[in-house]
């Protein structure tokens, strides 16, 4: 493996500056023996060397710093120019060659393992992998692009470039236009994850802490039909499953009416949003054994990282219907302490007074 691509199984969280948070976390999970679809990172160096191979870096910087953040037309114009530059400029052969080779290797190995015919065209997901620690800043900076069911080496190259181009959405330009040249350059470092597509018929998000109260003994699972995009983007109201980590045991279920789902497009390339037929809409999309499998894996992820996690996953089914959980991403859940503190305010003054007195009186009785 060269300078521009790194396989997931070689990565750990310390590689974040090189491969971005998403790839580093996927690598970390692979190393921990967790079920993650195989794949590789297109490193930060790939984009950096691409920018430096010509005067691209200076031109992009000029576009960004020259844009008027208050003016939508100006931002849109800057966006159009930047995207044209990134998608149009020749990719240095060393970079392009390495990405193509790594994809083909992944594709062929996978085809061999699965026994599939077309060894060079195994579908993958291509996603941006932000280097920024702060997820909120990353979303401003436009590093949240995802392309599903990408097939073949040419398309992979195209989508990698589109991930790079996604750094230059109008709002990302506005975000960086107020920065110094050095800051703006740093804020536009990006890596890309290329990962085998999970053949998900159900997908969703698991929190290993209650998103409503910050209770760490709780697991919350949101799930809907099809690929996970629908849940993550909020396009459907997902089913909610609440579990206690002891057991784990299911404590409550709320079945939503799930109107839409993302499925692979008929041609085998890309995805499409379609209506869910009536017979499946109001049906629980997860069975109890599937929930237990999800909860079990979520607990392993949490244990590995040592703090509450927000996990994206997909559920594949073998030909005989055996469910298999695939992890697509895991991030630390950082808001739970805040929520817990808000909830703690419910303790009334009368109660906290009494408890204060008891605590004081009980000092010395340590048993």
């Amino acid at each position: 493996m060269g300078k521009y691509t790194r396989k997931f199984n070689e990565l750990s969280s310390t590689d974040r500056p090189l491969v971005g948070g998403k790839c580093a976390s996927l690598g970390e999970m692979v190393q921990a023996g967790l079920p993650v679809p195989d794949g590789f990172a297109v490193t930060v160096d790939a984009y950096e060397d691409y920018r430096d191979a010509s005067d691209l870096r200076q031109q992009l910087l000029r576009i960004v710093l020259g844009a008027d953040a208050q003016n939508n037309d100006s931002l849109q114009q800057a966006h159009d120019e930047a995207v044209e530059l990134i998608l149009g400029r020749e990719l240095p052969p060393a970079i392009e060659q390495e990405i193509r080779e790594t994809y083909l290797e992944l594709s062929r190995q996978t085809a061999q393992r699965r026994g599939v015919g077309d060894a060079d065209r195994i579908p993958v997901a291509v996603r941006s992998s932000a280097t920024d620690e702060d997820g909120d800043a990353a979303s401003f900076a436009g590093q949240q692009e995802t392309y599903l069911w990408v097939v073949g080496e040419d398309d992979v190259i195209a989508k990698v470039r589109e991930c790079w181009a996604s750094l230059y959405t109008p709002q990302a330009i506005a975000y960086r236009s107020g920065m110094s040249a050095a800051e703006a350059s740093d804020a536009s470092k990006i890596a890309v994850a290329v990962q085998l597509m999970a053949h998900a018929d159900v997908a969703g998000v698991t929190f290993t802490v209650s998103p409503r109260t910050g209770d760490r003994s709780v697991i919350a699972i949101n799930a809907s039909w099809g690929l996970g995009q629908a849940v993550v983007s909020g396009e459907v109201t997902p089913d909610e499953y609440w579990l206690n980590k002891i057991g784990p045991t299911l404590t409550s279920t709320r079945i939503a009416s799930k109107a839409h789902e993302y499925v692979p497009a008929p041609g085998g390339v890309g995805v499409e949003l379609r209506d869910v037929e009536d017979s499946r809409r109001k049906v629980a999309c997860l069975s109890e054994p599937e929930l237990m499998q999800l909860a079990d894996i979520a607990l392993r992820v949490e244990k590995h990282y040592g703090c509450p996690q927000d996990i994206e996953w997909a559920l594949e089914h073998d030909a005989d219907g055996t469910p298999k959980v695939m992890l697509l991403q895991s991030r630390p859940e950082t808001n739970w302490k805040k929520r817990k503190e808000e909830k703690g305010k419910n303790t009334t003054k009368a109660t906290s007074n009494l408890l204060g007195f008891v605590t004081a009186a009980a000092k010395g009785s340590t048993k």
Binding site: D215, S217, V218, T251, I255, N353, A361, K363
Partner: protein, 629 residues
């Protein structure tokens, strides 16, 4: 376990149309039920709403104490009500100076007990009380185990004293020694004094009862609050499982029955025991053989103290105990023999329960930050220190002591009965404590003079009328609260012990305004699981023998002595119950779903209806309207 969107909406608290428009009935406007005219004379003036105090008493909120006093009070039984409130009051207010809480005002209306909190002290007074509380409660927390052991000695001493209290026979002549030796008080003097001794014990037992109680609850509440701060979604039953002992005195009587079943099998008399319905059957079928006698000896050993176990809360003389009526324990032993033969060893897996409890604690500890562990461990440790008292005081006082107390009162009644005061020994309970004293003075005077007491000419009419009144009051449906809607319900012990929260108050108001569902009840999730079955409404302990295999028990409140019945039912629903509720504890022990504190279970559900108990969600649903009425 599945809730739909529409159900979630139903559970949300409705918007109030201005709180000033809503209130509970004014206690002074409560009407006397037809046929109960004159009920007031059954209770002392201090228990009644006095017209001259209306401005003050109408301005307060009064909660019905249906947890301890679900039934109409008998005039004599008011001894335990007054005593219990005095005990809590003095312990909070005068002994430990609990800073934020004093005692309760108590009133009886139409025979039912209502209570109202004495306002919390202001900040300055609380600070003063806190200083005292620190010294006093601190002493108890530090020396808890020693003090608790001493307490057990004092309580069993009081029980023995009542049991052994001698009632003079009022014989024709005083003993010769009265002349030649002691020259002490007469049998008449001693009779009055014995009655005073009985009342003294009946009064002082409540100071003992309360001695550790609120300290124990406060310590437990501390742990509970801490758990909820860290784990906002944890349920109360999980918290109590982390604290509660696996070997609790209240399970002991049931354990004795299991042991007796095993013993019967060992001795080869299982068939005879199983065929018996009552004590006479046992004596006649077992009295002749050696094995039979050996088993009867074991029974006698178990009976004292373990059958001093009330069929009800113990608070009413009418509840009686196993030791007074052996039918339920005998039937239960029979059931256990059947289970033994089916291969069940009947042993409660104490080690396993203990291991589960430790595992549960470890689980929650593992989700705490390092910094939070010391406080968690300290609060858990203190809770476990206080819990044996919290769990066991009930057996000592409400069951063992009160069984003896009521039976001693019956001994006085028997004496009065032989002197023509009344026909039925139970009649004494229709007299107030002060009236019983008058009757005893009457008897004392007549016996002394060699004449005939007035009682037989006075009491029978009054008792007859009071029985009619009692019946009429029993059919009345007392509101859960009286007076204005409370501004805020926040006194933590009230919330924990009575299950009175802002949500309960809201539910009561909704039900009162006709807004509650006739097929759907909400309560506390007492014990997990879901069960469906025919309802059996049991309002009083003497209806217990109507419970059939596979039914769901619906009752105002359950007593620990009903435990053997839990082997027969599929689930339980109670009107009353906070988190320390017995129905919940026993249901968990038996793995039965239970919903407690529904408020209106017994008035909504009819015997024979098919109902679903959801012990996870805390709901009860009536599935059909059919009844066996």
């Amino acid at each position: 376990m599945t809730t739909t969107d529409s159900e979630l909406n139903e559970n949300s608290v409705p918007v109030q149309n201005g709180p000033q428009e809503r209130s509970f009935p004014d206690p002074y406007e409560i009407e006397t039920p037809e046929g109960a005219e004159g009920w007031e004379e059954m209770y002392a003036y201090h228990n009644r709403f006095l017209p001259t105090r209306r401005a003050e008493d109408s301005a307060k909120t009064w909660f019905r104490n249906s947890l301890h006093y679900p039934e109409v009070s008998y005039p004599f039984d008011q001894v335990t009500i007054d005593g219990a409130f005095t005990g809590t009051g003095v312990t909070n207010t005068r002994v430990f100076a609990l800073p934020p809480a004093k005692g309760l005002d108590v009133r009886v209306i139409n025979g039912y007990t209502y209570m109202s909190t004495i306002p919390s002290p202001d900040d300055e007074e609380q600070a003063r009380r806190a200083e005292e509380f620190g010294k006093r409660a601190g002493y108890y927390f530090e020396n808890w185990d020693t003090l608790y052991a001493e307490w057990e000695g004092r309580v069993t001493g009081a029980i023995r004293a009542v049991h052994e209290l001698e009632i003079p026979p009022l014989s024709e002549f005083e003993a010769i020694e009265r002349v030649t030796a002691d020259r002490g008080p007469s049998q008449g003097n001693l009779l009055l004094s014995a009655y005073h001794r009985l009342l003294e014990h009946g009064d002082q037992i409540w100071t003992l009862h309360s001695e550790f109680l609120n300290l124990g609850y406060a310590a437990y509440l501390q742990f509970l609050t801490l758990c909820k701060e860290h784990f906002p979604e944890i349920d109360d039953q999980t918290i109590s499982r982390m604290v509660s002992g696996v070997d609790v005195l209240l399970f002991r009587p049931d354990d004795e029955l299991r042991a007796l079943a095993r013993k019967a099998e060992e001795l080869g008399v299982g068939d005879l025991v199983q065929a018996a319905n009552n004590e006479e059957d046992l004596l006649s079928s077992l009295g002749d053989s050696e094995a039979g006698k050996a088993w009867l000896a074991s029974l006698d050993e178990s009976k004292d103290p373990w059958f001093n176990f009330s069929y009800g809360s113990g608070m009413y003389h009418s509840h009686r105990s196993w030791i007074d009526d052996l039918r339920l324990p005998i039937q239960a032993i029979g059931d256990y023999i059947v289970r033994l033969r089916g291969g069940d060893d009947l042993r409660r897996p104490l080690d396993k329960l203990q291991a589960e409890r430790d595992e549960l604690v470890e689980h929650y500890r593992s989700h705490l930050d390092e910094d939070d562990l010391p406080a968690f461990d300290a609060a858990l440790g203190l809770s476990r220190t206080v819990f044996p008292y919290v769990e066991n005081h009930n057996f000592y006082v409400e069951h063992w002591f009160l069984t003896n107390f009521w039976n001693k009162a019956r001994e006085f009644s028997t004496l009065l009965q032989t002197w023509g005061f009344w026909d039925d020994v139970e009649d004494i309970f229709f007299l107030r404590r002060a009236e019983v004293e008058e009757a005893i003075v009457d008897l004392q005077m007549a016996w002394a003079a060699g004449g005939k007491p007035q009682g037989g000419y006075h009491w029978p009419e009054i008792i007859k009328r009071r029985k009619e009144i009692y019946e009429a009051l029993s059919n009345w449906n007392p509101p859960p609260a009286l007076g204005p809607v409370p501004g805020e319900v926040n006194e933590p012990l009230t919330i924990m012990l009575w299950g009175i929260t802002p949500e309960t108050v809201e539910r009561w108001l909704t039900a009162q305004d006709g807004g509650s569902s006739r097929t759907h009840l909400t309560g506390f999730a007492g014990s997990p699981g879901i069960a469906e079955g025919r309802a059996r409404v049991v309002l009083r302990p003497d209806q217990l023998d109507t419970v059939q295999e596979g039914e769901i028990l619906v009752s105002p409140v359950t007593s620990p002595s009903w435990t053997p019945v839990f082997g027969r039912i599929r689930g339980a629903v109670s009107d009353i119950g906070g988190i320390m509720c017995h129905a919940a504890i026993v249901s968990r022990e038996y793995g039965l779903p239970a919903v407690v504190g529904t408020g209106f279970g017994t008035s909504t559900i009819k015997t024979g209806q098919l109902i679903r108990v959801d012990g996870d969600a805390g709901t009860v649903t009536i599935l059909d309207e059919s009844t066996d009425v």
